[in-house]
Amino acid sequence: MDLVSLPSLAAATGEPITSGFSAWAAWIVLFAPLFVAFLVACVPAIRKAVNLAAGLAIASVALGLILTLFCYFLPALQSPGVVYEMIVPWVTVDGTVLIAFGTRMDALSITMSLVVTGVGLAIFVYALGYMHGDPSKGRFFGKFALFVFSMLGIVVSPNFFQTFIFWELVGVSSYLLIGYYWQKDSAGQAAKKAFMTNRVGDFGFLIGILMIWAAVGSLTGVVDPGAYSAFDFTVIEKTIEQVGFEGLFQGGVLAAAIAAALVFCGAMGKSAQFPLHVWLPDAMEGPTPVSALMHAATMVAAGIYLVIRCNFVFYGAAWAPTLICWLGGITAFIAASMAITQNDIKKVLAYSTLSQLGYMTMALGAGAYTAAMFHLTTHAFFKALLFLCAGSVIHGCHHEQDMRHMGGLRKLMPSTYKTWIIGTIALTALAPIAGWWSKDEILGSLLGTGQVWGSPFLLLVGLVVAAMTAFYMWRATYMTFAGEYRGHHEAHESPKVMTVPLWALAIFSLFIGFIGIPDDTIPGLAHSNVFAHWLHHWHKGGDAVLHFGLAFGATVVAWLGFLAARAIYRESAGKDPLPQRLGAVWTTWNRLYYIDDFYAWLVGVVQQGIARCAWFVERWVLIQGVINNASQTVRVTGDRVRRVQAGRLGGYVTSFVLGAAIVGLLVLLHVGMANAAGGK
């Protein structure tokens, strides 16, 4: 097996890049965490020396961050469209590469890699403090490192198949970490639910991948895949560029839309979009750093990343963008409404994450891939920050998660409070930091898109959700931090090892938004949208422009949501008047629109019923009806036949005479017929 490093097909400008630092760096970035996970799993000494295990895990992520930063600052990658790819054949059948494995470093994967390792590093350091005193901390960091490996695998993946591999691995590491407290029944349930929901998504994903693979593979006359397989993103992109959807699929653009929708199923599972959103809130059973890293900042972003990575499959694929956009809108709305009714601080953030992912998905549908990526990036920082703050609160309140038993933490946990406020402002877009810019870009993209049916309505949904976001976040803020402390034990501020990462993320949350200010917004800065220029290659649809009216409107509704929350919860002292006021609506929201109940019925009654039917057929038709009856028949027949040979002489004589008579008769008949035939 040769290690080949081939000129990238995607290099639009400049010289093709055959090797170099970035190509190698990607392999190290990817495999360093796996190596650590392997060490922790296989060497008991390291697993038991908890701080060594944690240190190794942190070092592997830090190494990834540093190397990615190097790649970013290297001049070679600054020119747009440059790709480093280093690929080895993984499975070769009959001399053709079926599946290739490799790394791909381009502007998009570097951005995502920076988010994963950057936010990851802060959370790893934080976890050092949060998991303090847990005897199996070594195991925790091993699994954590495994997760980072899986996630980075998606990030640097150059082809669909490798993405699917790491897609599944992310699912496993998520399963392991959600079920980290395996003694708790609810944790086991939640882990299973997350895994199975993702599996259902992957069902569609794999079919979609195979559809595209079969179509592209049979068209290898167009682009010679060489060492790349027909799963390769670049090969697929080139093929679609040259022959269009009509030339690619025999079913034309309709088949393209089906394939796109199926691939999106995968994204729907990982990024928890309606109707596969149910696993994410339950996943909060895991330790809080896990919630922060996986279920807020990175893993759930994988679906968004996937769509951006292979946007050529989606862009212009008939009704697929509309479907995606609407699912995003539905998710954004239902999740925001569910968040309003939650009392568990982590659950509020979980539903908030769902809702924000809905925004990103809407942008994907509208074809605003850079806007989605921008929101993904800013969201990763401030949502990780909020989760870590929540973790700090939980830690400080002795594992209390119910906001009704909190309150007054403003004075008791000043650092946590200040950073939480920064995160909340960034999320709710009251002031022009982080989320204000990215969310506005998404809303703007809905205004300008032509490929989504009903986009004005979705824009309206986006605005309503903006108000709801402000409402539930400030509701949580007031319930947690305002008034007097209502808990049972003395609350305390968290140690430095936890607050320093909070501040690091808070600072990023403050400034991250400024890398994506639309061009020409600030006088004299014609190219202020650094982010969009950097991701130029993925920029489709209209240019990002600041729509002043829209930005103003979004800010106003956010302030309205904030003021409403302030009016209701500032003096509420942990009591929530909403259930009475909203009545049945509140109940519906609190029961999650009965979707979880419906799924529970589907699994518990329908699936179990079908399984029972299968068992009934197996037990009574196949085993009893066919096999046991057959053996019974043999036995009974044997019994009867045995009686003939019972040792009674008379019986034998009778049978003998009868038999002889029959044989004689047959012989006579035969002879007679032969004579008759001969006579003719």
Binding site: V91, F166, W182, R199, I207, S218, T220, G221, W615
Partner: protein
């Protein structure tokens, strides 16, 4: 000395040697079995490593280019010359994959069986006799010995389950033993009838010669189903499968390992080696229907597994579900699919052996396998629990394990063959979801959650000898999961001639062969020029 001959002589010699060992010398008995199987493992690995460098001893269809089928490590000793009977051994890549699988599993099985205390001597005699037969089937190139070794494998199975097995709430031991042996024999007899007809047609037992014989279409159409069904009962194909889960449930751990790991593969191996190779035209006619039947295996087997509470029945039905994937790969009749099928036979064998070994480990102590009685076992046996989760993940088709690579190859192959509008492929992908359901439930109910007080005294694997089989099987799964190419290349050597034959047969009966991944000289699908349309 010829390594293939050794793989048969060593277990046979060990079996004989054990007859002369004092029954109370348990240590000596176990050592003999361990050393013998360790030797087998070393020889098999040696053959695996040197496979591509080894020249072909015999080549069937030597002039047929891609269709040339090389058999390596050949050995021949004449026996009854008048009948053309000879003791003839040889393997292609497919056979060697199975030899390696058998060696790995029997070594692990012998080590796992250290916990057997009842009639130790007879136990190991049966086990080694069984494995002699299995090696014989995978390596024989003579129909007579092929069948002889096959029967040799079945008889010890009867004793092993009948004497050392156990009756539980779910399965009666005697019933399961009888059912297993009767159905296995019924299948074998059916295959035997077919094999005799083949012999009477060609006039030789030499499998290399038979392979070169061109059977008439009518003969193929008549005898393919007979031989196929005989072997399919062994796979086990739905609806002939019910002997298998019951047999598992009654058998002791090592026997379950061999049963699911190796015996079931004998059937699939026979289908490929005999039915499809000899009767390619009939195969192209009948295989599409197999693609439908194996969907029943996959989906129905999985659904029945969901409704089980006995761990061994869950894994038993799961095995029958997974063998559906093997059959689907065979039915696809594409390079990718058939290679995937053989690779999956290997991967599934290792994985399921690991699972049964683990179930045996705790069953020895708990005397129950019902999920309702278990729970929280992770607390007292973290090593076993970790291994079980790994095996379950492998079974559920998680990347990093050989099962993933092979199952995906099967699915890709099925997709490529485009049988029945790819519906079998889609059902197979849904089968991955079903697998997840019952395995994760088993993991959660047995290993996670609260632990009943009475299990607090259970012990984990601690010593090196106790851990070796588990670590070895896990390592093999991971090795070929991360680096499948060596296995794929080796399997390809055996599969390519077969698929070439099937393709040729398809063209003969007028079915166009359309490949998604064209061979280098095949023209790609013509594309409609975009410009013309607009």
């Amino acid at each position: 000395m010829n390594p293939l001959l050794l793989t048969i002589l060593i277990p046979a010699a060990a079996t004989l040697a054990l007859f002369f060992v004092d029954a109370s010398a348990k240590r000596a008995i176990r050592s003999i079995a361990t050393v013998a199987t360790a030797l087998l493992l070393v020889i098999s690995i040696g053959m695996f490593v040197g496979f591509h460098a080894e020249p072909d001893t015999w080549t069937a269809n030597a002039g047929a280019g891609d269709g040339a089928h090389g058999y390596k490590y050949g050995f021949e000793a004449s026996w009854i010359e008048d009948m053309g009977l000879a003791f003839r051994l040889g393997v292609d890549g497919m056979g060697l994959a199975m030899v390696l699988l058998t060696a790995l599993i029997i070594f692990a099985g012998v080590m796992v069986s250290y916990s057997v205390e009842k009639r130790v001597k007879e136990y190991y005699i049966c086990l080694l006799a069984l494995v002699t037969g299995v090696f014989g089937v995978f390596t024989s190139l003579d129909l007579f010995f092929y069948y002889f070794f096959y029967e040799l494998a079945v008889i010890p199975m009867f004793l092993l389950i009948g004497v050392w097995g156990s009756t539980t709430r779910t399965v009666d031991q005697n019933y399961a033993t009888m059912k297993l042996v009767l159905l296995l024999t019924a299948g074998a007899v059916m295959a035997l009838v077919g094999l005799i007809s083949v012999w009477s047609e060609v006039g030789t037992f030499n499998m290399v010669l038979i392979e070169e014989h061109e059977f008439s279409t009518a003969f193929q159409m008549a005898w393919f189903p007979v031989i196929f069904l005989g072997f399919a009962a062994l796979v086990p194909m739905w609806p002939l499968h019910s002997w298998s889960p019951a047999g598992h449930a009654a058998a002791p751990a090592a026997v379950s390992m061999l049963h699911a790991g190796v015996l079931m593969k004998l059937g699939a191996f026979g289908i490929l080696r005999i039915a499809c190779t000899y009767f390619p035209e009939a195969a192209t006619e009948y295989l599409p229907y197999l693609a439908l039947l194996c969907c029943m295996n996959i989906v129905y087997g999985g659904l029945v597994a969901i409704s089980q509470r006995d761990m061994k029945l869950i894994i038993g039905y799961s095995s029958s579900s997974h063998m559906g994937y093997v059959l689907l790969g065979v039915a696809s009749a594409t390079m990718i699919g058939v290679e995937g099928a053989v690779f999956l036979m290997f991967a599934h064998g290792i994985m399921t052996a690991l699972t049964f070994a683990l179930i045996g480990w705790f069953y020895d102590q708990t005397h129950t396998r019902m999920l309702d009685d278990l729970g929280g076992l992770m607390k007292v046996m973290p090593f076993a629990g970790t291994c079980f989760i790994i095996a379950s993940m492998a079974s559920a088709g998680l990347p990093g394990f050989a099962n993933f690579a092979s199952e995906l190859m099967v699915i890709i192959g099925a997709w490529e063959s485009n049988l029945w509008l790819a519906i079998p492929a889609i059902l197979a992908i849904w089968g991955l979801v079903i697998t997840g359901v019952y395995l994760l439930r088993a993991v959660k109910d047995a290993w996670f959650g609260e632990m009943p007080e009475r299990w607090s005294k259970l012990r984990d694997q601690r010593t090196l000898a106790e851990r070796t089989p588990f670590v070895m099987l896990t390592a093999v799964l991971l090795l070929f999961g991360f680096w499948p190419q060596p296995m794929v290349s080796m399997v390809e050597q055996g599969v390519k001639p077969l698929v070439t034959r099937l393709d040729a047969a398809k063209e003969q009966v007028g079915k166009a062969v359309k490949r998604v991944v064209p061979a280098n000289d095949q023209p790609a699908r013509e594309i409609r020029a975009v410009g013309e349309e607009r």
